[in-house]
């Protein structure tokens, strides 16, 4: 089958299903007894298995299948949910995600998941994984003896069925453990000879370690096989002892009654065959009671909204075409103004309104809920809290808040960093928290909300807060600030020092964060998106990192200003207000011209000088037009010749040839067809 055309869809859907798995697993961890959630996970896993098998990604299908078995056991109340079991399931989901990622980037989705698979199998068989770090265990280690039976091997349903059926037909089932001599040289050869004898006398059902491992000599000296045969135990033992270099052969008859009970417990369950056989495992999920525990789960039911998938590229093209229209609209508006023809103006006016609506629709089409970024955090925080032995809950609020796709693409990494920072440096260890009289469990709250033309994302923790003195001390020792300036800094400014480059307050550098290169990168990324970040913190109470982001990056509102004959655009997002000042109001402070603006001393920036605007004759105006702009807490007044007005413009880049132009962030095309440059106010501060 030609599957390539479906690959994209497969990847998208796999990601969705894996995401659903993670979300429901987290929910399950909170409500371990809610079997309806298990049903949800099972369904996602099952669909994923079916899809990947169809697409020929067998590793993916195989691992999903193993995971499904465990889930099935949980659903049938054979295994009780514990965090340790969930650890293994989470690990499997992680592996699956990696595989899908690999497939998406052109790979074949293959990955070494032996140890996880091994654990899934053992959990299914009723074993409890050791606390944590399941993957560091040797996969080749023989499974421990289970408490209920005397058997060394662990069987799945299929194997149990086969064994019980053979016993019913009068064939005996044995478990044979063979120990080779310590000085045995050709272990694989001996294994081969043992198997050859066995296969002559009956059927090998299972071996531990697996046959592949045995062939590769990946075992110490002992291996076990489950075997059905008509021969008697003593005959078998004698035959096997004839193989040279075999030390001990133990043959025990399998007590079929022991696991017969287990099989009878669920007679309705169809016989499970291991690997690949897909049709037999279709579960009876539709019968599951549709009990939803949370509102979030309700919102995610697919039937709720009718949607189609559209390639993002097409949306980008649509956006580009619309940008062209916006430019022409500006042009038409200015022509209509010049001509002064009533009907023309009216038509242009109507068209502008329709285009405004169209613009809203196109922009919202490109909007993606921040959920797509947020949804990986619960799992991440869970992992961090297990790694650091801290108790942390992550609360996500406003995940449905929407942001432009271009912003979404960029915001993920900074958020990861900030959340890790909060978990690692913010939240204290449980014992420390107890001493401080706080609940042992720390809370990190991730909030997103709209406000005006911005989206705010806040990360609040109830941890240690920022230690003012420690930050100051560090900042001075690292040369970020001088001791003289240190005294005049406000608390907020001190907090923001941790965003300066080359700064890290963690005493111990951990692998989570604390390399001292992180937070300044966060700051740079956010500023490059046209946003900004601020910190509020109270020691021992907690910190809040607040990020302000523009809704969209491609069409922005600007104030057009004129200097001599040149027109520049200043983004409205940085403007506080405009004002006209008299020459007499300009004061001098250290060669810097400043004004007194509502009780604040604001430095003036003469754009004419910064941009070296050529002037035919010097103008000496009594009045100056000033645009007051802001960067964080800092203000500045940009002096221009005159204001033209406010306009929506399309942001264009200056191209590859002109890069890093001072204080210019881009260009736009005006209604008259001319290019105007957009001023980067941040660079002027």
């Amino acid at each position: 089958m030609e599957v390539n055309q479906y690959l994209e869809m497969f990847i998208d859907e796999s990601k969705e299903h894996l995401q659903a798995c993670s979300e429901h697993l987290l929910e399950l961890e909170k409500n371990p007894d809610d079997l309806a959630i298990v049903g949800e996970i099972f369904r996602s896993a099952h669909t994923l298995k079916g899809m990947s098998a169809t697409m020929g990604f067998e590793d993916l299908a195989d691992l999903t299948h193993k995971m499904e078995n465990v889930l099935d056991a949980i659903r049938n109340e054979k295994i009780h949910v514990t965090p340790d079991i969930l650890d293994v399931v989470f690990e499997s989901v992680d592996h699956l995600e990696e595989m899908v990622q690999d497939i998406a980037s052109g790979g074949d989705g293959k990955r070494d998941v032996q140890s996880t698979v091994e654990w899934l199998k053992r959990i299914e068989a009723g074993e409890t994984p050791p606390h944590h770090d399941a993957d560091t265990e040797k996969a080749t280690q023989a499974p421990e003896q289970t408490a209920t039976t005397n058997l060394k091997l662990v069987y799945d349903d299929f194997e149990k069925t086969v064994i019980s059926q053979s016993v019913e037909q009068g064939v005996k089932a044995y478990e044979i453990s063979v120990t080779l001599r310590d000085d045995c040289l050709l272990k694989a050869a001996r294994v081969f000879m043992v198997f050859e004898i066995l296969e002559k006398n009956g059927d090998v059902i299972k071996s531990s370690p697996t046959v592949e491992k045995l062939e590769e000599e990946q075992f110490d000296s002992l291996f076990s096989v489950a075997f059905i045969s008509k021969e008697s135990a003593s005959d078998l033992q004698q035959k096997l002892m004839k193989v040279s270099e075999v030390d001990v052969v133990e043959v025990t008859e399998i007590d079929v009654a022991a696991f017969k009970e287990v099989i009878e417990e669920k007679p309705a369950e169809p016989v499970k065959k291991p690997e690949n056989v897909e049709s037999a495992t279709v579960p009876a999920t539709p019968a599951q009671p549709e009990k939803k525990t949370s509102a979030a789960a309700k919102a995610s039911t697919p039937a709720a909204s009718k949607t189609i998938r559209v390639n993002i590229e097409r949306l980008d093209i649509l956006m580009n075409l619309f940008e062209e229209l916006v430019i022409d609209r500006g042009r038409l508006l200015s022509i209509a103004d010049e001509v002064g023809h009533g009907e023309l103006s009216e038509t242009v006016e109507r068209m502008s309104r329709t285009m405004g609506d169209l613009q809203n629709i196109i922009l919202t089409m490109r909007m993606v809920p921040v959920e797509t970024v947020f949804n990986r955090f619960p799992k991440m925080v869970r992992q961090i809290s297990r790694d650091t032995n801290k108790k942390i809950t992550l609360e996500v609020i406003g995940a449905e808040t929407e942001l432009d796709r271009t912003v979404i693409d960029e915001i993920g990494d900074p958020l990861v960093h900030l959340i890790r920072n909060s978990c690692d440096h913010g939240i204290e260890k449980p014992e420390v928290r107890r001493q401080k009289g706080k609940p042992e469990e720390g809370t990190v709250e991730l909030r997103a909300y709209h406000s005006g033309n911005y989206v705010f994302i806040e990360i609040e923790d109830d941890g240690a807060g920022i230690n003012r003195d420690k930050v100051l001390e560090k900042a001075i020792s690292k040369g970020v600030i001088t001791p003289e300036t240190a005294g005049s800094l406000t608390d907020k400014q001190i907090n923001e020092l941790i965003l300066a480059s080359g700064f890290s307050t963690a005493d111990v550098v951990s692998d989570l964060s604390g390399r001292g290169v992180g937070l300044d990168v966060v700051k740079t990324t956010i500023e490059s998106l046209g946003g900004n970040i601020s910190i509020e913190s109270t020691q021992d109470v907690g910190s809040t990192f607040s990020i302000q982001l523009p809704l969209t990056l491609s069409i922005i509102s600007v104030m057009l200003v004129e200097i001599e004959k040149e027109i520049y655009a200043i983004p409205l997002s940085s403007i506080i207000e405009t004002s006209i000042i008299r020459s007499a109001d300009i004061l001098n402070a250290h060669n810097q011209k400043v004004i007194d603006f509502r009780g604040k001393v604001v430095p003036l920036v003469f754009l004419e000088e910064v941009f070296e605007v050529p002037r035919n004759e010097a103008v000496d105006d009594e009045f100056h037009s000033v645009v007051i702009v802001r960067k964080g807490e800092k203000l500045a007044g940009l002096v221009v010749d005159s204001f033209i007005g406010q306009q929506e413009i399309v942001l264009k880049s200056l191209g590859d040839y002109l890069t890093n132009i001072f204080a210019i962030s881009g260009a736009t095309i005006l209604g008259n067809g001319k290019v105007a440059l957009i001023i980067d106010c941040n660079a002027l501060m």
């Binding site: 191209g655 002109l658 001072f662 001319k674």
Partner: protein, 148 residues
């Protein structure tokens, strides 16, 4: 020219800077525009005249005359902007006039004679002699490299 059929030709756009004729292979040329409003970009090198709106694309403009240190002609009527594309870079060249599209046989192209020794020397990939005309072939990579 008996074996003209077998000869390879290069199609070039010929333009003039002061009294000399230059050529750029036509494959690099996206179009020739009349002089239009150029928006000055502050704090750039002197030969970058600014940017223009080329059908919705903001395109930087380089004044080749200033780039090569040649004084251009006073007659502004014939001044043209040649839009060239190199890799993903689109740039316009201001020239005194763009007069011709020619096929030059590759045999007519000679490497740059070393004696000339003017500022523009390093931007030249060769010269082509055609009858009585001398065409200077430009090395676009070097013209567009701001370090030279």
């Amino acid at each position: 020219m008996t074996n003209a059929v077998e000869q390879k030709f290069i199609k070039v756009i010929v333009f003039q800077l002061a009294d000399k004729e230059y050529a750029i292979p036509v494959t690099y040329v996206r179009g020739i525009e009349k002089l239009m409003h150029i928006t000055r970009v502050p704090k750039t090198v002197s030969y970058v005249k600014g940017v223009i709106n080329l059908r919705g694309v903001v395109t930087p403009i380089i004044d080749l005359r200033e780039r090569f240190g040649i004084k251009g002609s006073d007659n502004e009527d014939n001044v043209r902007i040649i839009i060239v594309q190199l890799n993903d870079m689109e740039v316009g060249f201001v020239v005194d006039s763009a007069n011709d599209v020619l096929d030059i046989p590759s045999s007519a192209i000679e490497p740059q004679p070393e004696v000339i020794g003017s500022l523009e020397e390093e931007f030249i990939s060769g010269v082509a002699k055609l009858d009585k005309r001398l065409l200077i072939l430009l090395h676009l990579d070097k013209v567009l490299n701001p370090n030279k």
